[in-house]
Each structure stands twice: as C-alpha cells, then as structure tokens.
C-alpha cells in the first residue's frame, strides 16, 4: 500500500530561476515522511523512538513551477532491516512525474542519541506499506 501526501508549493519555495529550488524537494519528501510517521508509525507513548535519515537519493526529472494546487507525493516501504527501513517516493503534478527519490531511515533513540532496533509495532506498520 502506498501512502499519498498532498504537498503545497509555496511561492517562496521558488528560486531566481522561477522554479522550486532543488533543496526544497528534500523538504517536500520530509513533509510526506513526517506526516506518515505521525499518523501511522510513531508510538505516542514512546516519543524518544524516532528515526533519522542515513542516506538519500533524489532524481530531478522536471522543474516544478509555482502551483496553486498541491503536488502528490506517493511513498512506500522498499525494505526493512534490524534498525533501518527504506522508503521510495514519486512526486507528481497530476499525471506528470516530477521527481523520484529514496531514503534509508535509521531508527534512532533521541534520548540515548544512538540507533536502536525497530519495534515489532513499527515492523507491522512498515509491512503494511511495503511496495
């Protein structure tokens, strides 16, 4: 199952070339991921159990202009390790593919400032969103 996030493009996301700056795509991916994590993955009773980005790729296929309608970010899980999971993304305006991306997320204990094993609860959620 893919997770879809509707992402607004703000006017000040654009750079002097008149399109969304390349770095903003990472913000859009992050907004999609955070929305997913807070709705489905994060355990409210364990706020220290979070994840950090270990590795990221972004392929820029078309420039993103200013758009008044949100762009769609589809996100799904491509792999689950002991203390990491992998996400893939497709960013679209309507049927037009704008960008694709991957992130490797490392499960992280914020209080202990170190990586941690994924919990069974997280694994069950990640399995539901496997692509």
């Amino acid at each position: 199952m893919k997770y879809r996030f509707e992402c607004s493009v703000r006017f000040d996301d654009l750079d002097s070339y008149g399109h969304v700056n390349n770095a903003m795509l990472a913000d859009y991916l992050q907004d999609a991921r955070i929305d997913f994590v807070h709705r489905h993955l994060a355990d409210p009773s364990a706020p220290h159990e979070r994840a950090v980005v270990g590795h990221q790729t972004i392929e820029y296929l078309r420039p993103v202009p200013h758009l008044t309608a949100p762009i769609a970010i589809d996100m799904w899980v491509t792999g689950v390790g002991t203390s990491s999971y992998h996400l893939a993304y497709e960013v679209r305006d309507g049927h037009t593919l704008l960008a694709t991306a991957t992130t490797a997320m490392v499960a992280y204990d914020i209080d202990g400032a170190q990586s941690r094993p994924l919990t069974d609860r997280e694994r069950a959620v990640l399995d539901r969103f496997a692509g």
Partner: protein
C-alpha cells in the same frame, strides 16, 4: 588536483527539534558551495557560462554524523564544504562533496559525503546546453576520481 573549499555559515534555523542540523539543510550547504565554485569562482577562471543557468539532475548523500549547534556553549565555526569534479560529459558533469569540520589537531570530522549531477541549462531556449571549452578546462582543474562517494553502506543495519 585541488578541491574547492567553501566555508558556509550555520543558521540557528538549520536546527530541527532533534537538536541537530536537519537533513534537508545539508543540500543547502552543498548548494552554497556549488554556487561559490560555479557562479563566483568559475567566471574568474575562464568559465563565465555556468552562472547563466544550471539545473540539478540528481543528488545522492550519505549522512555520517549529526551537526549540532548549541548556542553559547559550542557555537560552531562555519561548516566546511569541499567540492570536486568526478565526471565531465558533453552536457552534464558530476560533483563530489564532503561536509566536514577540521579539528584543532587537523583531524577531519566528516558529517556527510555526497554527489550531484549538474546540467548547464539555457533558460532562454528552455533546454540543456553543451559544456564549452573554457568550462571544461576549469572543471578539469578539480577532477578527483578516487575521492569518497556516498553509499548505502553504513546507513544499513
């Protein structure tokens, strides 16, 4: 061959609620270094055209260590971004980057290793353009083929 060195100041707003520089900001540090190399430095080395237009085709980045910013305790020096060239094609080229700090003893604390594919772009014509001879010569001065590359290794467990 030499690497290009940029010193990029940190901003308080680079920090997220985890107390470290947010992953997206690393791409902005790379961008500052790239603009410094291609738009500020390159025109004085016979490569004027890059500043007229460039788009990013791809980024890859491995995050190796968090960058922290604790006001009043250890306010950081500007972050050091080293940039070099790993490939030059007809109408695109690749850069490598290390984002790091150099300690008092000369030790290198590497926060991230990254790469980008860049395409010189003619915005008036709305299409990519070929790399000119002056630009190729300038890029050639920064070629390093055996530098570190981003990879999934280390992010996996």
């Amino acid at each position: 061959m030499a690497r290009h060195v940029s010193q990029v100041p940190l901003r308080w707003s680079d920090i997220d609620s985890y107390g470290h520089v947010n992953n997206t900001v690393y791409l902005r540090y790379m961008q500052e270094a790239r603009v410094d190399l291609l738009y500020v430095h390159a025109p004085s080395c016979g490569a004027e055209g890059f500043a007229r237009g460039m788009v990013v085709r791809r980024h890859e980045i491995s995050y190796r260590a968090p960058i922290r910013y604790v006001a009043g305790v250890d306010r950081p020096e500007p972050i050091r971004v080293e940039t070099w060239v790993t490939a030059i094609r007809a109408a695109s080229f690749d850069l490598g980057y290390e984002i790091l700090a150099i300690g008092p003893g000369g030790d290198r604390q590497v926060y991230a290793v990254a790469s980008s594919t860049l395409v010189p772009y003619d915005f008036d014509a709305g299409r990519p353009r070929r790399i000119g001879p002056g630009e190729r010569a300038m890029l050639s001065d920064y070629v390093e083929l055996d530098g570190p590359t981003p990879s999934l290794q280390g992010a996996l467990a």
